[in-house]
Amino acid sequence: MDRGDLEKWRKMAGLGGLLGRVVLPRAIDAYLGFPGPKGNPGELRGMAGTYGGIATDADGAQADVDKLAKSDLPQVWVGQAQERACEVIGAVAFELEHSVTVMTKARAELDQLADGIEAAQHSHASGKEALHQARNEGDFDRKQSIAIAGMDQVIAGYDQAKATQEASARVFTDLAAQARASQLDSSHLDAADKLVLGQSAVPGGPHDVNIIMSAGDAERASTKLDALNDADRARFDELLDEARSPQEKAYLMRALAAGHSIDEIAEFGAKIHPYGDDPEWLRDHLQPIYNTTDETTGQTIPTTYAGAKWEQTGGTCVAASSVTARAVVDPLYAFQLTTGGNPGDPASTSADAFEERFLHETERVYGRPANEGSGMSKDEGEDAANDEIGPATGAEYEFHDLDSPEDRRGIFNDVAESVDEGRPVPVQVEGFDDEGHRSGHQMMIIGHEDGMLQIYNPWGHTVWVSEDDFVNGHMEGASDSRLPTVDGVHLPK
Protein backbone atom coordinates (compact mmCIF):
# COMPACT_ATOMS: atom_id res chain seq x y z
CA MET A 1 0.00 0.00 0.00
CA ASP A 2 1.36 3.45 -0.92
CA ARG A 3 0.34 7.06 -0.43
CA GLY A 4 -2.12 6.86 -3.33
CA ASP A 5 -3.93 4.01 -1.55
CA LEU A 6 -4.03 6.06 1.65
CA GLU A 7 -5.69 8.91 -0.26
CA LYS A 8 -8.19 6.52 -1.79
CA TRP A 9 -9.18 5.01 1.58
CA ARG A 10 -9.35 8.51 3.06
CA LYS A 11 -11.90 9.58 0.42
CA MET A 12 -13.95 6.42 0.86
CA ALA A 13 -13.94 6.82 4.65
CA GLY A 14 -15.68 10.17 4.22
CA LEU A 15 -18.66 8.67 2.41
CA GLY A 16 -22.05 8.78 4.08
CA GLY A 17 -24.96 6.37 3.94
CA LEU A 18 -24.83 2.62 3.91
CA LEU A 19 -21.70 2.51 1.75
CA GLY A 20 -19.86 4.70 4.23
CA ARG A 21 -20.84 2.42 7.12
CA VAL A 22 -19.56 -0.62 5.19
CA VAL A 23 -16.33 0.95 3.99
CA LEU A 24 -15.23 2.87 7.09
CA PRO A 25 -14.10 -0.19 9.16
CA ARG A 26 -12.11 -1.48 6.17
CA ALA A 27 -10.52 1.93 5.68
CA ILE A 28 -9.57 2.03 9.38
CA ASP A 29 -8.02 -1.45 9.13
CA ALA A 30 -6.10 -0.46 6.01
CA TYR A 31 -4.60 2.53 7.84
CA LEU A 32 -3.83 0.46 10.93
CA GLY A 33 -1.91 -1.95 8.70
CA PHE A 34 0.14 0.84 7.14
CA PRO A 35 3.71 0.82 8.52
CA GLY A 36 5.08 3.87 10.29
CA PRO A 37 7.92 5.98 8.91
CA LYS A 38 11.24 4.18 9.14
CA GLY A 39 14.25 5.75 10.80
CA ASN A 40 15.99 5.87 14.16
CA PRO A 41 16.17 9.43 15.53
CA GLY A 42 18.29 8.42 18.53
CA GLU A 43 20.87 6.73 16.34
CA LEU A 44 20.87 9.69 13.92
CA ARG A 45 21.56 12.12 16.76
CA GLY A 46 24.45 9.93 17.89
CA MET A 47 25.85 10.01 14.37
CA ALA A 48 25.37 13.78 14.27
CA GLY A 49 27.41 14.02 17.48
CA THR A 50 30.27 12.08 15.91
CA TYR A 51 30.38 14.46 12.93
CA GLY A 52 30.20 17.43 15.27
CA GLY A 53 33.15 16.02 17.23
CA ILE A 54 35.16 15.52 14.07
CA ALA A 55 34.37 19.08 12.94
CA THR A 56 35.58 20.49 16.25
CA ASP A 57 38.78 18.45 16.25
CA ALA A 58 39.46 19.13 12.55
CA ASP A 59 39.13 22.84 13.27
CA GLY A 60 41.95 22.54 15.81
CA ALA A 61 44.02 20.39 13.46
CA GLN A 62 43.50 22.97 10.71
CA ALA A 63 44.93 25.73 12.90
CA ASP A 64 47.98 23.61 13.81
CA VAL A 65 48.67 22.51 10.22
CA ASP A 66 48.14 26.02 8.86
CA LYS A 67 50.69 27.34 11.39
CA LEU A 68 53.13 24.65 10.33
CA ALA A 69 52.84 25.73 6.66
CA LYS A 70 52.74 29.48 7.13
CA SER A 71 54.96 30.08 10.14
CA ASP A 72 56.84 27.14 11.69
CA LEU A 73 58.53 25.65 8.63
CA PRO A 74 59.37 28.91 6.83
CA GLN A 75 61.16 30.08 10.01
CA VAL A 76 63.57 27.14 10.07
CA TRP A 77 63.84 26.27 6.39
CA VAL A 78 64.08 28.45 3.29
CA GLY A 79 64.33 27.24 -0.29
CA GLN A 80 62.50 25.55 -3.14
CA ALA A 81 62.10 22.24 -1.30
CA GLN A 82 60.46 24.09 1.60
CA GLU A 83 58.10 25.83 -0.80
CA ARG A 84 57.01 22.50 -2.30
CA ALA A 85 56.55 20.97 1.17
CA CYS A 86 54.50 23.96 2.29
CA GLU A 87 52.33 23.68 -0.84
CA VAL A 88 51.29 20.21 0.32
CA ILE A 89 50.88 21.19 3.98
CA GLY A 90 48.93 24.30 2.91
CA ALA A 91 46.64 22.09 0.81
CA VAL A 92 46.08 19.87 3.86
CA ALA A 93 45.11 22.99 5.85
CA PHE A 94 42.62 24.05 3.13
CA GLU A 95 41.22 20.54 2.98
CA LEU A 96 40.72 20.50 6.74
CA GLU A 97 39.08 23.93 6.68
CA HIS A 98 36.67 22.75 4.01
CA SER A 99 36.02 19.50 5.86
CA VAL A 100 35.01 21.46 8.98
CA THR A 101 32.26 23.13 6.92
CA VAL A 102 31.20 19.77 5.46
CA MET A 103 31.18 17.92 8.80
CA THR A 104 29.26 20.78 10.44
CA LYS A 105 26.63 20.62 7.70
CA ALA A 106 26.46 16.83 8.02
CA ARG A 107 25.89 17.15 11.77
CA ALA A 108 23.13 19.74 11.27
CA GLU A 109 21.49 17.67 8.53
CA LEU A 110 21.46 14.49 10.61
CA ASP A 111 19.93 16.42 13.51
CA GLN A 112 17.25 17.83 11.19
CA LEU A 113 16.63 14.40 9.73
CA ALA A 114 16.24 13.00 13.25
CA ASP A 115 13.79 15.78 14.17
CA GLY A 116 11.81 15.28 10.97
CA ILE A 117 11.59 11.51 11.37
CA GLU A 118 10.68 11.84 15.04
CA ALA A 119 7.88 14.29 14.23
CA ALA A 120 6.69 12.04 11.40
CA GLN A 121 6.68 8.97 13.64
CA HIS A 122 4.86 10.93 16.34
CA SER A 123 2.22 12.04 13.84
CA HIS A 124 1.85 8.46 12.61
CA ALA A 125 1.53 7.09 16.15
CA SER A 126 -1.07 9.72 17.13
CA GLY A 127 -3.00 8.90 13.98
CA LYS A 128 -2.92 5.19 14.79
CA GLU A 129 -4.09 5.87 18.33
CA ALA A 130 -7.07 7.82 17.00
CA LEU A 131 -7.83 5.03 14.53
CA HIS A 132 -7.81 2.43 17.33
CA GLN A 133 -10.18 4.69 19.24
CA ALA A 134 -12.40 5.05 16.16
CA ARG A 135 -12.51 1.29 15.66
CA ASN A 136 -14.01 0.90 19.15
CA GLU A 137 -16.44 3.82 18.80
CA GLY A 138 -20.11 2.85 18.43
CA ASP A 139 -21.58 6.08 17.11
CA PHE A 140 -20.97 6.24 13.32
CA ASP A 141 -20.64 10.02 12.97
CA ARG A 142 -18.21 10.17 15.83
CA LYS A 143 -16.34 7.08 14.58
CA GLN A 144 -16.01 8.69 11.14
CA SER A 145 -14.84 12.03 12.50
CA ILE A 146 -12.16 10.45 14.77
CA ALA A 147 -11.02 8.10 12.00
CA ILE A 148 -10.62 10.84 9.41
CA ALA A 149 -8.60 12.97 11.81
CA GLY A 150 -6.39 9.93 12.48
CA MET A 151 -5.99 9.23 8.78
CA ASP A 152 -4.91 12.82 8.16
CA GLN A 153 -2.23 12.42 10.83
CA VAL A 154 -0.95 9.20 9.24
CA ILE A 155 -0.78 10.93 5.84
CA ALA A 156 0.93 13.96 7.41
CA GLY A 157 3.50 11.65 9.01
CA TYR A 158 4.20 10.01 5.67
CA ASP A 159 4.55 13.37 3.90
CA GLN A 160 6.82 14.78 6.56
CA ALA A 161 9.13 11.76 6.50
CA LYS A 162 9.29 11.91 2.71
CA ALA A 163 9.98 15.67 2.57
CA THR A 164 12.67 15.49 5.27
CA GLN A 165 14.42 12.56 3.65
CA GLU A 166 14.30 14.12 0.18
CA ALA A 167 15.91 17.29 1.55
CA SER A 168 18.57 15.29 3.40
CA ALA A 169 19.34 13.13 0.37
CA ARG A 170 19.98 16.31 -1.64
CA VAL A 171 22.34 17.67 1.02
CA PHE A 172 24.32 14.44 1.37
CA THR A 173 24.67 14.09 -2.41
CA ASP A 174 25.97 17.67 -2.50
CA LEU A 175 28.41 17.07 0.39
CA ALA A 176 29.71 13.85 -1.20
CA ALA A 177 30.58 15.77 -4.39
CA GLN A 178 32.72 18.15 -2.32
CA ALA A 179 35.25 15.39 -1.60
CA ARG A 180 37.24 16.37 -4.68
CA ALA A 181 40.79 15.21 -4.06
CA SER A 182 39.82 11.57 -3.65
CA GLN A 183 38.14 11.72 -7.07
CA LEU A 184 41.67 11.90 -8.47
CA ASP A 185 42.06 8.17 -8.10
CA SER A 186 44.80 7.78 -10.69
CA SER A 187 47.47 5.29 -9.71
CA HIS A 188 50.01 7.72 -11.21
CA LEU A 189 49.53 10.38 -8.55
CA ASP A 190 50.59 10.15 -4.93
CA ALA A 191 48.43 11.42 -2.08
CA ALA A 192 50.26 14.78 -1.91
CA ASP A 193 49.76 15.38 -5.66
CA LYS A 194 46.06 14.57 -5.38
CA LEU A 195 45.56 16.92 -2.47
CA VAL A 196 47.50 19.82 -4.00
CA LEU A 197 45.65 19.46 -7.31
CA GLY A 198 42.27 18.97 -5.64
CA GLN A 199 42.76 22.07 -3.49
CA SER A 200 44.20 24.38 -6.17
CA ALA A 201 42.09 27.51 -6.35
CA VAL A 202 42.26 30.82 -8.16
CA PRO A 203 42.79 33.99 -6.12
CA GLY A 204 40.35 36.88 -5.76
CA GLY A 205 37.71 35.25 -3.57
CA PRO A 206 37.10 32.57 -0.94
CA HIS A 207 39.21 29.48 -1.54
CA ASP A 208 36.47 26.85 -1.42
CA VAL A 209 34.28 28.53 -4.08
CA ASN A 210 37.19 29.00 -6.48
CA ILE A 211 38.62 25.47 -6.71
CA ILE A 212 39.94 24.96 -10.25
CA MET A 213 39.03 21.29 -10.70
CA SER A 214 35.50 20.04 -10.09
CA ALA A 215 34.89 16.48 -8.89
CA GLY A 216 33.97 15.58 -12.47
CA ASP A 217 37.19 17.15 -13.84
CA ALA A 218 39.18 15.13 -11.31
CA GLU A 219 37.47 11.90 -12.27
CA ARG A 220 37.88 12.50 -16.02
CA ALA A 221 41.51 13.60 -15.63
CA SER A 222 42.30 10.43 -13.64
CA THR A 223 40.77 8.22 -16.29
CA LYS A 224 42.71 9.96 -19.07
CA LEU A 225 45.94 9.91 -17.04
CA ASP A 226 45.74 6.16 -16.50
CA ALA A 227 45.01 5.61 -20.21
CA LEU A 228 48.14 7.44 -21.47
CA ASN A 229 50.91 5.38 -23.06
CA ASP A 230 54.36 5.49 -21.42
CA ALA A 231 55.76 8.16 -23.74
CA ASP A 232 52.78 10.51 -23.33
CA ARG A 233 52.74 9.83 -19.62
CA ALA A 234 56.41 10.88 -19.35
CA ARG A 235 55.72 14.09 -21.32
CA PHE A 236 52.76 14.95 -19.10
CA ASP A 237 54.76 14.18 -15.93
CA GLU A 238 57.45 16.55 -17.16
CA LEU A 239 54.89 19.32 -17.65
CA LEU A 240 53.55 18.79 -14.13
CA ASP A 241 57.06 18.64 -12.64
CA GLU A 242 58.04 21.91 -14.31
CA ALA A 243 54.85 23.74 -13.34
CA ARG A 244 55.55 26.83 -11.30
CA SER A 245 52.43 26.72 -9.13
CA PRO A 246 49.67 24.31 -8.05
CA GLN A 247 47.30 26.40 -10.21
CA GLU A 248 49.40 25.79 -13.34
CA LYS A 249 49.32 22.06 -12.57
CA ALA A 250 45.56 22.12 -12.06
CA TYR A 251 44.96 23.82 -15.44
CA LEU A 252 47.13 21.18 -17.14
CA MET A 253 45.01 18.51 -15.47
CA ARG A 254 41.83 20.28 -16.61
CA ALA A 255 43.18 20.36 -20.15
CA LEU A 256 43.66 16.60 -19.89
CA ALA A 257 40.15 16.21 -18.44
CA ALA A 258 38.76 18.22 -21.38
CA GLY A 259 40.06 15.55 -23.74
CA HIS A 260 43.04 17.30 -25.40
CA SER A 261 45.97 15.33 -26.80
CA ILE A 262 49.38 15.51 -25.14
CA ASP A 263 50.68 17.48 -28.16
CA GLU A 264 47.95 20.10 -27.64
CA ILE A 265 48.54 20.20 -23.89
CA ALA A 266 52.31 20.50 -24.35
CA GLU A 267 51.85 23.47 -26.70
CA PHE A 268 49.36 25.05 -24.27
CA GLY A 269 51.68 24.31 -21.33
CA ALA A 270 54.64 25.98 -23.05
CA LYS A 271 52.57 29.13 -23.67
CA ILE A 272 51.18 29.50 -20.14
CA HIS A 273 54.38 28.39 -18.36
CA PRO A 274 55.93 31.90 -18.33
CA TYR A 275 52.86 32.99 -16.32
CA GLY A 276 52.75 29.83 -14.21
CA ASP A 277 53.66 31.62 -10.99
CA ASP A 278 51.02 34.30 -11.55
CA PRO A 279 47.70 32.75 -10.47
CA GLU A 280 45.80 35.96 -11.29
CA TRP A 281 47.05 35.87 -14.88
CA LEU A 282 46.11 32.20 -15.15
CA ARG A 283 42.65 32.93 -13.75
CA ASP A 284 41.98 35.88 -16.07
CA HIS A 285 43.04 34.06 -19.23
CA LEU A 286 42.02 30.45 -18.62
CA GLN A 287 38.48 30.71 -17.27
CA PRO A 288 35.72 33.27 -17.83
CA ILE A 289 34.24 33.30 -14.31
CA TYR A 290 35.44 33.22 -10.71
CA ASN A 291 33.73 34.07 -7.41
CA THR A 292 34.69 37.16 -5.43
CA THR A 293 32.43 36.12 -2.56
CA ASP A 294 30.83 32.97 -1.21
CA GLU A 295 27.54 34.80 -0.70
CA THR A 296 24.91 33.41 -3.05
CA THR A 297 22.95 36.64 -3.39
CA GLY A 298 20.76 37.85 -6.24
CA GLN A 299 23.29 40.55 -7.14
CA THR A 300 24.40 40.49 -10.78
CA ILE A 301 28.17 40.25 -11.29
CA PRO A 302 29.61 41.28 -14.68
CA THR A 303 31.50 38.56 -16.55
CA THR A 304 34.42 40.34 -18.17
CA TYR A 305 37.82 39.89 -19.75
CA ALA A 306 40.05 43.00 -19.63
CA GLY A 307 36.88 45.08 -19.23
CA ALA A 308 35.06 43.50 -22.20
CA LYS A 309 31.94 41.50 -21.41
CA TRP A 310 31.39 37.87 -22.34
CA GLU A 311 28.09 38.83 -23.99
CA GLN A 312 25.90 37.93 -26.92
CA THR A 313 25.29 40.01 -30.02
CA GLY A 314 21.76 40.04 -31.47
CA GLY A 315 19.68 36.92 -30.89
CA THR A 316 22.62 34.62 -30.23
CA CYS A 317 21.86 33.68 -26.63
CA VAL A 318 22.12 29.93 -27.30
CA ALA A 319 25.38 30.24 -29.24
CA ALA A 320 27.00 32.79 -26.90
CA SER A 321 26.07 30.88 -23.73
CA SER A 322 27.45 27.69 -25.32
CA VAL A 323 30.72 29.44 -26.20
CA THR A 324 31.15 30.74 -22.65
CA ALA A 325 30.20 27.36 -21.16
CA ARG A 326 32.86 25.71 -23.33
CA ALA A 327 35.39 28.22 -22.02
CA VAL A 328 34.27 27.34 -18.47
CA VAL A 329 35.07 23.64 -18.98
CA ASP A 330 38.07 23.88 -21.34
CA PRO A 331 41.06 26.07 -20.41
CA LEU A 332 42.60 25.75 -23.89
CA TYR A 333 39.47 27.19 -25.44
CA ALA A 334 39.35 30.04 -22.89
CA PHE A 335 43.06 30.70 -23.56
CA GLN A 336 42.42 30.88 -27.30
CA LEU A 337 39.52 33.32 -26.81
CA THR A 338 41.37 35.62 -24.43
CA THR A 339 44.83 35.59 -26.05
CA GLY A 340 44.40 34.22 -29.57
CA GLY A 341 47.23 31.86 -28.63
CA ASN A 342 49.67 34.80 -28.31
CA PRO A 343 49.77 35.67 -24.61
CA GLY A 344 52.76 37.99 -24.98
CA ASP A 345 51.20 40.15 -27.69
CA PRO A 346 49.31 43.20 -26.34
CA ALA A 347 47.24 43.51 -29.54
CA SER A 348 46.17 39.87 -29.42
CA THR A 349 45.31 39.96 -25.70
CA SER A 350 43.38 43.24 -25.88
CA ALA A 351 39.69 43.60 -25.05
CA ASP A 352 38.92 44.43 -28.70
CA ALA A 353 40.66 41.31 -29.98
CA PHE A 354 38.80 39.21 -27.40
CA GLU A 355 35.43 40.70 -28.43
CA GLU A 356 36.18 39.97 -32.07
CA ARG A 357 37.09 36.34 -31.35
CA PHE A 358 34.07 35.89 -29.06
CA LEU A 359 31.75 37.17 -31.81
CA HIS A 360 33.46 35.00 -34.41
CA GLU A 361 33.02 31.89 -32.26
CA THR A 362 29.43 32.83 -31.46
CA GLU A 363 28.66 33.16 -35.17
CA ARG A 364 30.36 29.83 -35.90
CA VAL A 365 28.01 28.14 -33.44
CA TYR A 366 25.03 30.26 -34.59
CA GLY A 367 25.71 29.30 -38.20
CA ARG A 368 25.11 32.79 -39.62
CA PRO A 369 25.89 36.44 -38.89
CA ALA A 370 24.76 37.48 -35.41
CA ASN A 371 22.43 40.19 -36.73
CA GLU A 372 20.49 37.71 -38.88
CA GLY A 373 17.67 35.40 -37.80
CA SER A 374 15.93 35.30 -34.46
CA GLY A 375 17.80 32.75 -32.42
CA MET A 376 18.19 28.98 -32.46
CA SER A 377 15.60 26.24 -32.05
CA LYS A 378 15.64 23.76 -29.17
CA ASP A 379 17.08 21.10 -31.47
CA GLU A 380 19.83 23.47 -32.57
CA GLY A 381 20.43 24.28 -28.90
CA GLU A 382 20.83 20.59 -28.14
CA ASP A 383 23.35 20.27 -30.99
CA ALA A 384 25.24 23.31 -29.66
CA ALA A 385 25.42 21.79 -26.17
CA ASN A 386 26.60 18.45 -27.56
CA ASP A 387 29.12 19.96 -29.98
CA GLU A 388 30.55 22.68 -27.71
CA ILE A 389 30.24 21.46 -24.10
CA GLY A 390 29.90 17.71 -24.61
CA PRO A 391 33.41 16.91 -25.90
CA ALA A 392 35.11 18.52 -22.88
CA THR A 393 32.78 17.06 -20.26
CA GLY A 394 32.02 13.64 -21.72
CA ALA A 395 28.32 14.50 -21.52
CA GLU A 396 25.63 13.84 -24.10
CA TYR A 397 22.86 16.38 -23.61
CA GLU A 398 19.14 15.91 -24.14
CA PHE A 399 16.34 18.45 -23.85
CA HIS A 400 13.75 18.29 -21.06
CA ASP A 401 10.53 20.27 -21.43
CA LEU A 402 9.54 21.70 -18.07
CA ASP A 403 5.90 22.74 -18.19
CA SER A 404 5.02 22.89 -14.50
CA PRO A 405 6.49 23.62 -11.06
CA GLU A 406 6.32 19.84 -10.42
CA ASP A 407 8.43 19.17 -13.53
CA ARG A 408 10.98 21.76 -12.43
CA ARG A 409 11.10 20.53 -8.84
CA GLY A 410 11.51 16.99 -10.11
CA ILE A 411 14.56 17.85 -12.20
CA PHE A 412 16.28 20.26 -9.77
CA ASN A 413 18.48 17.57 -8.15
CA ASP A 414 19.67 16.30 -11.51
CA VAL A 415 20.56 19.86 -12.56
CA ALA A 416 22.47 20.44 -9.31
CA GLU A 417 24.28 17.12 -9.60
CA SER A 418 25.34 17.84 -13.19
CA VAL A 419 26.74 21.23 -12.21
CA ASP A 420 28.53 19.74 -9.17
CA GLU A 421 30.21 17.30 -11.55
CA GLY A 422 31.46 20.22 -13.68
CA ARG A 423 28.86 19.89 -16.46
CA PRO A 424 27.10 23.21 -17.18
CA VAL A 425 23.37 22.99 -17.87
CA PRO A 426 21.77 25.17 -20.59
CA VAL A 427 18.48 26.54 -19.25
CA GLN A 428 15.66 28.12 -21.28
CA VAL A 429 13.43 30.81 -19.82
CA GLU A 430 10.32 32.33 -21.30
CA GLY A 431 7.57 34.87 -20.69
CA PHE A 432 4.48 36.28 -22.38
CA ASP A 433 3.45 39.91 -22.85
CA ASP A 434 -0.06 41.29 -22.40
CA GLU A 435 -0.95 40.26 -25.92
CA GLY A 436 0.30 36.71 -25.40
CA HIS A 437 3.46 37.07 -27.45
CA ARG A 438 6.22 34.75 -26.21
CA SER A 439 9.80 35.82 -25.47
CA GLY A 440 12.48 33.18 -24.95
CA HIS A 441 16.11 33.19 -23.83
CA GLN A 442 18.88 30.73 -23.00
CA MET A 443 21.24 31.05 -20.06
CA MET A 444 23.72 28.59 -18.54
CA ILE A 445 23.66 27.05 -15.05
CA ILE A 446 27.31 26.88 -14.00
CA GLY A 447 27.32 26.63 -10.18
CA HIS A 448 25.44 25.07 -7.26
CA GLU A 449 25.77 25.82 -3.56
CA ASP A 450 23.33 25.08 -0.72
CA GLY A 451 20.19 24.87 -2.87
CA MET A 452 21.15 27.91 -4.96
CA LEU A 453 22.07 27.85 -8.66
CA GLN A 454 24.61 30.17 -10.28
CA ILE A 455 23.41 31.35 -13.67
CA TYR A 456 25.53 32.82 -16.45
CA ASN A 457 23.39 35.10 -18.60
CA PRO A 458 24.94 35.82 -22.03
CA TRP A 459 23.94 39.42 -21.49
CA GLY A 460 27.30 39.42 -19.70
CA HIS A 461 26.74 38.64 -16.05
CA THR A 462 26.27 35.93 -13.43
CA VAL A 463 23.72 35.77 -10.65
CA TRP A 464 22.51 33.26 -8.06
CA VAL A 465 18.88 32.09 -7.97
CA SER A 466 17.14 29.90 -5.41
CA GLU A 467 15.46 26.56 -5.97
CA ASP A 468 12.17 28.37 -5.36
CA ASP A 469 12.96 30.91 -8.12
CA PHE A 470 13.83 28.07 -10.49
CA VAL A 471 10.72 26.06 -9.66
CA ASN A 472 8.10 28.79 -9.33
CA GLY A 473 8.85 31.09 -12.25
CA HIS A 474 10.90 33.85 -10.59
CA MET A 475 13.92 33.87 -12.86
CA GLU A 476 13.57 37.58 -13.61
CA GLY A 477 16.46 38.23 -11.20
CA ALA A 478 18.74 36.37 -13.60
CA SER A 479 17.24 37.92 -16.74
CA ASP A 480 14.39 40.44 -16.56
CA SER A 481 10.65 40.66 -16.01
CA ARG A 482 9.89 39.47 -19.55
CA LEU A 483 11.50 36.10 -18.88
CA PRO A 484 10.39 34.74 -15.51
CA THR A 485 9.74 31.05 -16.18
CA VAL A 486 12.06 28.10 -16.79
CA ASP A 487 10.56 26.09 -19.62
CA GLY A 488 13.34 23.61 -20.30
CA VAL A 489 16.90 22.45 -19.69
CA HIS A 490 19.46 20.47 -21.65
CA LEU A 491 20.72 17.85 -19.24
CA PRO A 492 23.45 15.21 -19.63
CA LYS A 493 21.88 11.76 -20.18
Binding site: P37, K38, G39, N40, E43, L44, G46, M47, T50, G53, I54, D57, A58, A61, D64, V65, L68, D72, L73, Q75, V76, W77, V78, G79, Q80, A81, Q82, A85, V88, I89, A91, V92, E95, L96, S99, V102, M103, A106, L113, I117, A161, K162, Q165, E166, S168, A169, F172, T173, L175, A176, A177, A179, R180, A181, S182, D190, A191, A192, K194, L195
Partner: protein, 104 residues
Amino acid sequence: MTVDTGYQVDPTALHKYAGTAQDEAARIAGYPTRMRMLTCPSADVLGEHADIAAAYGGFLNAWVEEYELTSQALAETSTKLDASATQYGTQDRLHADSFDRAVR
Protein backbone atom coordinates in the same frame (compact mmCIF):
# COMPACT_ATOMS: atom_id res chain seq x y z
CA MET B 1 73.31 26.53 8.04
CA THR B 2 73.36 29.06 5.23
CA VAL B 3 74.35 28.00 1.72
CA ASP B 4 74.96 30.27 -1.25
CA THR B 5 72.32 28.45 -3.33
CA GLY B 6 69.76 30.43 -1.38
CA TYR B 7 68.43 27.86 1.06
CA GLN B 8 68.73 27.93 4.83
CA VAL B 9 67.85 25.14 7.20
CA ASP B 10 67.84 24.24 10.88
CA PRO B 11 67.88 20.42 10.72
CA THR B 12 66.97 19.94 14.39
CA ALA B 13 63.90 22.15 14.10
CA LEU B 14 63.02 20.48 10.81
CA HIS B 15 63.07 17.07 12.55
CA LYS B 16 60.79 18.50 15.22
CA TYR B 17 58.28 19.81 12.68
CA ALA B 18 58.41 16.53 10.75
CA GLY B 19 57.23 14.99 14.02
CA THR B 20 54.47 17.58 14.32
CA ALA B 21 53.30 16.75 10.78
CA GLN B 22 53.33 13.05 11.64
CA ASP B 23 51.26 13.67 14.78
CA GLU B 24 48.72 15.73 12.82
CA ALA B 25 48.55 12.99 10.14
CA ALA B 26 47.74 10.46 12.87
CA ARG B 27 45.15 12.83 14.32
CA ILE B 28 43.44 13.18 10.91
CA ALA B 29 43.61 9.41 10.36
CA GLY B 30 41.41 9.11 13.45
CA TYR B 31 38.45 10.78 11.66
CA PRO B 32 37.78 8.08 9.07
CA THR B 33 38.27 5.50 11.81
CA ARG B 34 35.51 7.17 13.82
CA MET B 35 33.30 7.44 10.73
CA ARG B 36 33.74 3.75 9.93
CA MET B 37 32.56 2.85 13.41
CA LEU B 38 29.21 4.57 12.81
CA THR B 39 26.12 2.49 12.14
CA CYS B 40 25.97 1.27 8.54
CA PRO B 41 23.62 3.29 6.30
CA SER B 42 20.21 1.60 6.13
CA ALA B 43 16.55 2.47 5.73
CA ASP B 44 15.97 1.39 9.35
CA VAL B 45 18.22 4.21 10.54
CA LEU B 46 17.82 6.92 7.88
CA GLY B 47 14.37 6.24 6.44
CA GLU B 48 13.08 4.72 3.23
CA HIS B 49 12.40 7.72 0.97
CA ALA B 50 14.51 9.36 -1.78
CA ASP B 51 17.19 6.68 -1.46
CA ILE B 52 18.44 8.58 1.59
CA ALA B 53 20.51 5.62 2.83
CA ALA B 54 22.40 5.48 -0.49
CA ALA B 55 22.89 9.28 -0.54
CA TYR B 56 24.25 9.26 3.03
CA GLY B 57 26.37 6.17 2.24
CA GLY B 58 27.88 8.00 -0.73
CA PHE B 59 28.76 10.94 1.51
CA LEU B 60 30.25 8.65 4.17
CA ASN B 61 32.44 6.74 1.70
CA ALA B 62 33.57 9.90 -0.10
CA TRP B 63 34.70 11.62 3.10
CA VAL B 64 36.29 8.52 4.65
CA GLU B 65 38.39 8.37 1.49
CA GLU B 66 39.05 12.14 1.50
CA TYR B 67 40.30 12.12 5.11
CA GLU B 68 42.46 9.05 4.46
CA LEU B 69 44.01 10.83 1.50
CA THR B 70 44.58 13.98 3.56
CA SER B 71 46.24 12.03 6.35
CA GLN B 72 48.36 10.09 3.86
CA ALA B 73 49.52 13.29 2.11
CA LEU B 74 50.62 14.79 5.41
CA ALA B 75 52.34 11.57 6.48
CA GLU B 76 54.20 11.39 3.13
CA THR B 77 55.33 14.99 3.60
CA SER B 78 56.43 14.30 7.17
CA THR B 79 58.60 11.41 5.98
CA LYS B 80 60.18 13.67 3.34
CA LEU B 81 60.77 16.43 5.91
CA ASP B 82 62.47 13.94 8.19
CA ALA B 83 64.62 12.59 5.35
CA SER B 84 65.58 16.13 4.31
CA ALA B 85 66.50 17.07 7.88
CA THR B 86 68.66 13.95 8.22
CA GLN B 87 70.35 14.62 4.88
CA TYR B 88 71.05 18.28 5.70
CA GLY B 89 72.47 17.23 9.09
CA THR B 90 74.63 14.49 7.56
CA GLN B 91 75.99 16.83 4.89
CA ASP B 92 76.79 19.43 7.51
CA ARG B 93 78.70 16.89 9.65
CA LEU B 94 80.58 15.61 6.56
CA HIS B 95 81.68 19.10 5.67
CA ALA B 96 82.61 19.79 9.30
CA ASP B 97 84.72 16.60 9.42
CA SER B 98 86.50 17.56 6.24
CA PHE B 99 87.36 20.93 7.75
CA ASP B 100 88.60 19.21 10.93
CA ARG B 101 90.94 17.02 8.88
CA ALA B 102 92.21 20.02 6.93
CA VAL B 103 93.28 21.92 10.06
CA ARG B 104 94.79 18.91 11.89
